[in-house]
C-alpha cells in the first residue's frame, strides 16, 4: 500500500473516465463464467429480469463478446478457463471493461491459493498486461454472492452515476 500504488490507481481512474467518454451508446454486456458456483450467475440473471431491470441504464445482454463493451466476469478463473477468458476478452472491441462480480472474481474467495485456480481477477489482470491484452477499466463488486443491488451499484459506478463509497482505511489500536 505504498504511495506509488495509490498514485498509479488514481491515474488509472482518470484513464477510466477517458475511456468511458468514448462510449456514446448503451453498454452491452457479455457474461463469462470462469468456474463460479452459479450463485453470482443467478444474481446476474436476476438483474436482467423486469424486477431489477438493468435495461433502465441501457445495459443489454448479448451472446457474443464481439458485440460487448463490458464483460460480467464471475468465478475465480480456473486454470482451464484462463485461455478461454483471454480469447473472449481479446475478442471484445476497445474500449473494453470488466465487472468482476463476487468474492471469487475479486479476491479468489476460499480458492485464492488453490493449485487449480488463478486466484481472482486482479492476478489475471497482471498476466493479461504482460501478454499484451489491455483492459480499459475494471470495477470490483464484492459479495458472496453479490446482491442484485450490489451489481447494479457496480454498473452505476462504472457508468459514473455514483461515486464509490469504500476507501482504504488504516486505524491505530
Amino acid at each position: 500500500m505504498s504511495q506509488s500504488t495509490i498514485k498509479e490507481s488514481s491515474s488509472k481512474s482518470i484513464d477510466l473516465k477517458k475511456a468511458l467518454s468514448r462510449i456514446k451508446r448503451s453498454i452491452w454486456v457479455f457474461h463469462i463464467n470462469t468456474g463460479s458456483c452459479n450463485g453470482c450467475d443467478i444474481e446476474i440473471l436476476d438483474v436482467l429480469t423486469p424486477y431489477f431491470d438493468v435495461e433502465r441504464f441501457g445495459i443489454k445482454l448479448v451472446v457474443s463478446p464481439r458485440h460487448a463493451d463490458l464483460a460480467l466476469l464471475t468465478g475465480p478463473v480456473t486454470i482451464k478457463t484462463f485461455s478461454k477468458v483471454y480469447r473472449a476478452l481479446s475478442a471484445m472491441p476497445r474500449p473494453r471493461f470488466v465487472l468482476a462480480i463476487g468474492s471469487c472474481a475479486v479476491g479468489g474467495n476460499i480458492w485464492f491459493e488453490s493449485y487449480s485456480t488463478m486466484g481472482g481477477f486482479p492476478k489475471v489482470l497482471e498476466m493479461f498486461s504482460e501478454m499484451g491484452l489491455e483492459i480499459d477499466g475494471v470495477v470490483y463488486v464484492p459479495g458472496c454472492p453479490a446482491r442484485p443491488e450490489a451489481i447494479i451499484y457496480g454498473a452505476a459506478t462504472l457508468l459514473g452515476l455514483q461515486k464509490p463509497k469504500t476507501v482504504y482505511r488504516r486505524f491505530k489500536a
Binding site: G107, F112, V139, P142, E149, F171
Partner: protein, 167 residues
C-alpha cells in the same frame, strides 16, 4: 390476437414491479449480513478471527515494529464467524453491501497494533495490548517472564529447574 389481449387487464392490475434501486432505499432485512467493522479501540490483536476466517479475508502480519490486522472485503464471504469468535466483541456486522469500487486497494482496511519485543532475543511475538490484558486478568502471573518470547520463556523456565548446563 384476441388471446394476446388477455394480458392487458393483468398488466394493468399488477402495475409496475420494477424497483428504482439506485434512486431508492434497498430492501435490507434484519438477518442480512454485510461487511464487518473492526473497532480499533476494543481490538487486542489476539488473532482469533484470522484463525476462524474460512477464506482468510482477515490476516495478521508483522511489518517491522507494527502488527497489522488486515481485512480484505474482496475475499470476505460474509459468514459472520469472526464476530462470533471475537473474545472482545470488537467485530460488528454491518449491513453495508455497496462496496463496488474501481480500485482494488480501496477494499483493504488495516488495524495497526504496537508490538512487544523479546528482551533476550529481540524477536517480536505479541501485541502490547494483549499482553497488558492478560496481565490484568490473570492474578498471579510471573512478571519476570512477561517480556520474553515463548521460546526464551521455555529456556528460562527450564534453567530454573535444571540449572545452567556446564560447558
Amino acid at each position: 390476437m384476441v388471446k394476446f389481449l388477455k394480458i392487458i387487464p393483468i398488466a394493468v392490475k399488477t402495475g409496475t414491479v420494477t424497483i428504482k434501486y439506485p434512486y431508492q432505499e434497498p430492501l435490507v432485512t434484519d438477518s442480512f449480513r454485510g461487511a464487518i467493522e473492526i473497532d480499533p479501540n476494543k481490538c487486542v490483536g489476539c488473532g482469533a478471527c484470522t484463525r476462524i476466517c474460512p477464506p482468510k479475508a482477515l490476516t495478521l502480519t508483522t511489518e517491522s515494529n507494527t502488527m497489522i490486522l488486515r481485512y480484505f472485503v474482496g475475499r470476505c464471504i460474509f459468514c459472520g464467524m469472526c464476530a462470533d469468535t471475537c473474545p472482545e466483541k470488537a467485530i460488528k456486522i454491518t449491513k453495508e453491501f455497496e462496496l463496488a469500487t474501481g480500485n482494488i486497494y480501496d477494499l483493504y482496511s488495516d488495524v495497526e497494533h504496537e508490538v512487544k519485543t523479546c528482551s533476550i532475543c529481540g524477536k517480536t511475538f505479541t501485541s502490547k495490548k494483549l499482553s497488558n490484558k492478560i496481565a490484568s486478568k490473570v492474578p498471579d502471573i510471573p512478571t519476570e517472564t512477561m517480556d520474553l518470547c515463548p521460546d526464551c520463556r521455555r529456556k528460562e523456565t527450564l534453567k530454573k529447574f535444571i540449572g545452567v548446563p556446564e560447558q
